[in-house]
Structures are given as C-alpha cells and as structure tokens.
Symmetry: C2
Subunit: 316 residues, 2 copies
C-alpha cells in the first residue's frame, strides 16, 4: 500500500480547508424509490455542489495546498469536463491563474463555464497525444502546477470529504455506492469509509459501455478503457493507478448497468426526487436496481456525483 | 370582506392538522440567479412536496376537516391536474374513497398518479359541461363531498400554510411571489402574509397567455379566462371568487411574463439550481426578471409551486 495515501486526519484537515469554498450538500430520499428498490436509500446530492459536481472538492483541496511560490505560477490541467470548471473556480477563488487545455471540439457550454470562473482556455486537437503535449508546453511556459483530474493524492483527499460529510450526517448506512470513472470519487469514498466505518461495504456502479474498472477489478490489474460507448459521459475515462490501488483494497464490488437501465434510473430520480442530475449520476441506482437482492432491506447511501447536463439532450 | 376567511389561528391549526401528511419543504437559493436578478431570492420548493405540488396542503386540510359521516362517504372533484392527485392521496391516507372526474383525454401519467393513490377515476367528455354534470351525478350517487380545487375555504386555508412555513423559516423577506391560476395558492399566501408580516408585499406572476387575473385585477371584477395559450399549463383556469376577493384586498400587483421569458426562467432554475419544476413554477421568476427595477436589492421569497412535468416535453 502506498504510504502517501491520505490519513483520516488528512481528510478531516482537507474538509476544514475547503469548507469555506464548498457546500455541505443535502441528503435526500424518496419513499417511492425505496418501494421500487426494496431497500432504504439516502442520496448525497453533489449535483447541488459548487460548479455542479463533487469535483469542486478535490480541485479546491489541491489548489489550497499549494505553497505561495506555486500559487503565484498557477495551476494547469487538461479536461473537457467538470474538473476543468472545478479547477478554474478553485483558482479563481484563490486569485491565481488556471490554464485549462481543452479539445477544440469541447462543448461551448463547458468552455463558457471555465471562462466564467476566470480560467484561460488553451485549445488543442481532440486526441490524447495533442492534449498531453499541449499541457506540457503550457506547464513549461508558465511554471504552473499540473493538477490531474483523479490520479493525484490531493484530489483524492478532497473527494474523500464527500463521504466524510455523508457518514457524519446520516446514521446507519450499511452500503455506500458511488459511480466509477477515473476513480477519484470512488477511491476517496472507500478510504473514508474504511477509516470511519469499516463495516460499511463500498460498492461502485459502472456502465457496461465503459467497464474498465470492472474488468480491472476482476483481472487484478489495470485494463485501460478502449472505445467506451455509454450515455454516462462522465465515466468514459480509464482508472487511475492510485485510484485502482484504493479500489482493490477497500471496494467490495463493482456492479454494472446498461444504458437503458441508466436512463430508467435517471428518469426515476428526475420524476420522483425532482432534481436534475447528469447521466453518470444515475449509474449506482441503476446498478442497485439491477441487483436488488443484494441490497434487500438494507440502508444504502448513494453519492449523486453531479448535475451538469445538456438540457437539450436529455434521453427522455 | 367575507367573514368566513381563515384566521391566523385557523391557518396555524391547519398546519398542525396536515403536518403529518406533508413535507416542510426546503428553501433554496442560487448566487448565480441572484446576480442575474440583481436581488436576493429565496425559493420555497413545493416541487419537493408530497404529490409534487403545494396542492397536497389544501387537499389534506379539506379531507382532514370532514366529519365522520362525510368521511365515510368520501370526496369527489373534477380535475386533470395536481389537485386530482392531491385529493386522491389525502383520501387514501385517511382511508376514505376519492372519486375523480377526469376528461377522457387526460394524460395517462395523471390517471396513473390518481390510481396509484387509490382514487377512482370517472371519465367524461373533455368539456366543462360534461365535467360538471358527471361530477353532480357522482355526488348524487355516492354522497361524497365535493372538494373544489381552489374556490373553497378549507383548500385556501391549506394552501396558506406554505407561506406560514416560508415566513417562519426565512427572515427578512420583503416581497413574496407566487404564480396565479385559480388563486388558491396566491390567496392563501396573501392572507398569511397579511397576518404574519403585513409589511411584506405580495406580488403574483401570471403568463401573458392566460392573464385573466391581471385583467380582473385591473378591472376590479372577475373577467373569466377565454382561450388560454401558454406553456404554463397549471395556470390556465379562471380566478375563483373567494380567491379574487383575497387578491383584491391583499395582493399589491400582478406582473406578466411571456412564454419565452417563462422558458428562460425555467431553464435558469434547472441549470443553476439543479431542480425539476413544472413551467407554471417559473412564472414568478420570469415576471421578476422582466421587472428587475422593482425588485432591485430587495429580498424576495418565491414559491415554486410544483414539479410535475412531462420530461419528454421539456421546452429545451
């Protein structure tokens, strides 16, 4: 086990550090969904989080931990998703520069969010090679610190604060679920649960159309995602190394859900809970509903990871 | 003034009466919306209410106030909207029959909701005459008590409990806004504000495509709605008589919003607050944004009336 993984004291310190800049998000439930699921579900609503996703936590923690010299030079990342907006916002709050490398075909709304928080966008060709070389040249030119979206200790430590609030605010949770993409949220959640309530089982939900975490978990080694195809567009990425180490050690299972199951779970959350979530958010509930027996009569905590969705492209 | 209007003690008693059967709904806000609006807005989220709308309050109050003999015979109404589901649920909770007259072309989802709560649906031709005669024959056959959707003291008293919670839970509100259709919510809100905080101005939002309340308010007499045409499909109905009396006395203004303005306000609430509302809900915010000067720098409480929307027909 990597000795540098955050300690419980570290996660608690991270929570104090970022508290002024994030919401302590509410926990909601729905009798109708409980009836359908055959268990008691409480939802931690990170869709109400700043920048609309849990990513605000990790980015804020990573930025606030920089020393003065690093802060002066700013931060950089490559992302077209919630991490880009989260890092731009954290940097904006700290009054430091943020350089965000985005593919030229990134949605206008994502670019607008980054600019709105004061981030500087550097466009590149829409492929991994271009993204990495562009980021390298930005870092070389500016001296900015690269803050990766998930495979990074301070980001994992920040994401771990979500489960900290969840387990503090809600008693009796027996199973804790989160979606898995790169594994930042899942790794942090598993770590916090292990420290605070080792009897709580941590289970991930993953789309069948991007099941690299499931495959890696079964194989005992990272199997990169190739050709992902799912509506859960926040979960397309491959598992990070640090994240995989945490998942192997502290996650008890990864359950899959098909896109029709994800859309059905998403519709349930919109219709019954009256909240806006992005498709990736619905994956744990979809995986639970596809494996009801496993959860029967239990109390389950599900982290709803974000609410940034193109309203013009809802799947219903 | 009609001497039978609910007193403050009556509204408080109604609140105690229905409390076991309703949610004390949360109050949310959005810095981004405040910035756009140029004032501080707090939203009372009745979209999270039981049956997805404030209508749960009035229906529960009316049902719980029946005597034993009346309860035995049940309740009846004609409605294809939230009042139908709310009355069916209130009756179901009380263990009494609910007879709901619905037009044969009512949306399947509305029928399903009524049946889900144990209500009995009686279909009729989709016109006012058929609705009224069908209701009369149901009442004659069953002896059930007719609970009208808004022009009824016990319903107004129930809807008035929403503003009671709002003013108890949130300090410093200077203006209170609600949408206006039949006037049950607006009338009850105005009455509660008058009793609890007479310095609070109560202002309605109404669609230009169904502006009978505005017309009536200007004319000083009820001008029935003819040929309504708006996306705010919960506000098509004409003002009730009791409701108009309250509005004339305690509402300071009715502001209009066009459908494009309503859709824009609806999008803001979905995107920025990450909650699901029905179009009627967005009317007060739309009216506020169309009359910003009037609200500049003030603290405004807006009641979001409901969240029952056909997700397949969102206007964006």
């Amino acid at each position: 086990m990597n000795p540098n993984f955050p300690s419980l004291a570290g996660i608690k310190a991270a929570h104090r550090r970022i508290q002024p800049f994030i919401h302590r998000t509410p926990i909601l439930s729905s009798e109708a969904i409980n009836e359908i699921a055959g268990c008691e579900i409480v939802f931690k609503c990170e869709n109400f989080q700043k920048v609309g996703a849990f990513k605000a936590r990790g980015a804020a923690n990573a930025v606030m931990k920089l020393n003065e010299e690093q802060k002066r030079k700013g931060v950089a990342t490559h992302s077209s998703g919630n991490h880009a907006a989260a890092l731009a916002r954290a940097a904006g709050v700290a009054g430091i520069p943020a350089y965000i490398v985005m593919p030229s075909n990134a949605p206008e709304i994502k670019k607008k969010a980054v600019k709105g928080y004061g981030g500087e966008i550097i466009e590149c060709e829409p492929n991994l090679m271009a993204r990495e070389t562009t980021l390298e040249s930005v870092v070389a030119r500016t001296g900015a610190t690269f803050i990766p979206p998930y495979d990074f200790m301070d980001v994992i430590e920040g994401q771990a604060t979500c489960a900290l609030e969840f387990l503090e605010d809600e008693e009796g949770i027996e199973l804790l679920m989160a979606p898995v993409g790169g594994g930042g949220l899942l790794g942090g959640t598993a770590l916090t649960a292990y420290y605070m309530s080792p009897e709580v089982e941590v289970i991930a939900g993953e789309p069948t159309g991007a099941d690299d975490a499931y495959q890696s978990f079964q194989a005992g080694k990272i199997i990169p995602q190739s050709g992902p195809n799912t509506i859960a567009d926040g979960l397309l990425t491959s598992l990070g190394e640090l994240n995989f180490e945490l998942i192997q050690k502290y996650v008890s299972d990864i359950l899959l859900a098909t896109d029709p199951q994800i859309i059905e779970a998403m519709r349930l959350i919109y219709e019954r809970m009256k909240i806006v979530i992005e498709p990736s958010c619905a994956v744990p509930l979809a995986a639970l509903l596809a494996n009801k027996d496993r959860f029967n009569g239990k109390k389950v905590g599900i982290i709803l990871s974000g609410g940034n969705v193109d309203l013009g492209k809802l799947p219903f």
